[in-house]
Assembly symmetry: C2
Homo-oligomer: 211 residues x 2
């Protein structure tokens, strides 16, 4: 079970895994400790309450999403508009891989918590809102670049970025409801329509589509 010195890390990983697979309410501190191989004293040494662990897990999951999804998808090796379908493809592949391991499409870790807790926990709601704003910052940068390149007519960048995020979160919600990660890649095919990009000005570069 590893050394005590990485107990905090193990708790974070356990919380990420169990809460995303079920729900925040369904996972107790006792179960988190048992699964992570950490005693309760150590838990409360690192986290005053389950809620503090959830906040730290959201931050860790954001760092992971940034490193494994947003940074690679929005890298400048593709023209800005082509990065959006690449992003949906990467998200779809990540969810399909996890569904193979767990037998179920687990949905967006952030979206799940947002709907479970937003009416009842202001700190968690605020942190999830910040994560969503971070996603939008990537979308906005690519949209601005596409407008500057002339690939896209001038548009409300903030609003369009929010719409892309809504399509993503909605696609992940429907994928979880259908227990079919393919929903995300199929709906990702609509993201350029949403942006208002016509077929004519979008370079086709969906190598990851078959992943």
């Amino acid at each position: 079970m590893g050394r005590t010195s990485n107990a905090r890390e193990r708790l974070l990983q356990t919380a990420t895994r169990l809460i995303q697979a079920r729900s925040y309410a369904d996972v107790s501190v006792d179960e988190l400790c048992a699964d992570a191989g950490v005693n309760k004293g150590s838990f409360y040494y690192f986290f005053p309450a389950k809620r503090a662990l959830a906040l730290a897990a959201i931050e860790a999951q954001w760092q992971q999403a940034r490193a494994t999804l947003l940074e690679p998808a929005f890298a400048p090796d593709l023209p800005p508009l082509a990065r959006f379908p690449r992003f949906f493809d990467l998200v779809a592949a990540a969810h399909a891989a996890r569904a193979e391991q767990t037998g179920a499409v687990l949905g967006c870790a952030f979206g799940n918590l947002a709907l479970e807790l937003s009416t009842r926990d202001e700190a968690i709601r605020g942190q999830l809102q910040a994560v969503f704003a971070n996603y939008c910052a990537y979308f906005e940068a690519a949209l601005r670049e596409a407008v500057a390149d002339g690939a896209l007519a001038p548009l409300d960048v903030a609003q369009t970025a929010q719409a892309v995020l809504a399509l993503l979160e909605g696609a992940l919600l429907l994928a979880k409801t259908a227990n079919d990660a393919g929903v995300v890649s199929r709906l990702g095919g609509q993201v350029l329509h949403l942006i208002g990009a016509t077929g004519a000005n979008v370079p086709v570069a969906r190598d990851e589509q078959s992943m």
Copy 2:
């Protein structure tokens, strides 16, 4: 608290209200009985378990959404494409009204349960999937009519309808996270882009926009 004969109805209304405001896990049978003014024997006379009440509440909420949102939004008094922004406006207005009563944007009753329970309750997941398919049937009918009218170029109607639903569910998720029902009407402004309708062929008829 009314007569025993409408105990079932009161339990349904209570379940709808309390579960949407918090979560399925957070509302106990004891609390449902106390809030509805129904004793536990009556509860179990109507519903073998909380889950059975949740399934009945989903059906009741679907009937309400159909009657108050989908039927009026997709009525044939407007050209088919103009019905989509009207639908988003009606949804936004309903959520804004409820937020005024409760102090919080509660999110989509179906989307909330889908993310909370899809990995753990096959019956609830299946019923929510059927509700979402019902929504899509309205979207598909309007899209087919728009194609037949020549207002829209031929397109994958089923896929586009799913994308509209994803935008809706995502917008409701972001509205709940931001605790701002205005997110739904603002993102509803993007729905015609998503459908691939250009400005030229969409009659502007957003009377409800200021609601």
